[in-house]
Assembly symmetry: C2
Homo-oligomer: 119 residues x 2
């Protein structure tokens, strides 16, 4: 993952409305939710909702499919895993002694970051 992608994903989540949307999608699971449904649940104007869904989509954190007149949005778990790996890359310079003692897991890499299996 490149820096700009990580920043895009973090910025997408660093906003109350989008964080609410994302968590709603995470809770909804892979089946997702219709845009209108999300708007109702969070009480959002359609322009506002559309804007934020686009941000999440462009950041790679949400995908969508059409079902009749509805667009169904769902969280992209893989993107989250990639982001976490980026954040912990080369943790403690791979020095497992330092890592284990004070902080991370000492792997220096971070497959452990896959909190959302399913990639």
């Amino acid at each position: 993952m490149e820096k700009k992608d990580a920043i895009a994903a973090l910025a997408a989540l660093a906003q109350e409305t989008r964080l609410d949307i994302f968590r709603l999608l995470v809770q909804a699971g892979p089946e997702g939710l219709a845009a209108g449904h999300i708007g109702e649940r969070l009480n959002l104007a359609s322009a506002t909702l559309s804007f934020h869904l686009n941000q999440l989509r462009h950041a790679g954190l949400a995908g969508f499919r059409r079902e009749g007149r509805s667009l169904i949005y769902a969280a992209e778990y893989a993107a989250m895993n990639t982001l976490l790996a980026y954040l912990t890359e080369n943790c403690c310079q791979g020095d497992s002694a330092a890592c284990g003692a004070g902080g991370c897991d000492g792997s220096g890499v971070t497959d452990a970051a896959q909190i959302f299996p399913g990639d």
Copy 2:
């Protein structure tokens, strides 16, 4: 963790300079780095550096201690774990069938998010 804390942490990381600083601290490990050292490595004006270090600190992602004339900053791993747990809270409504198939780990809770042990 409350929503505002999560947003503060995400917003802190969603900025190129701060993301660079944070990753540098993660790589440095629990011993941390002096502010001046960070500024040199990333070529930042002192006002700019100070501003961003404060943002990270207020977001709970970095702590510091004084050592002589230097302030040594270090990443706060626990805060990251808390943030991840918040993001994945009640994932897939705890429905492990849906979770396992399409995305997360089905736990519905997220101790699995502790990619930075050491809390």
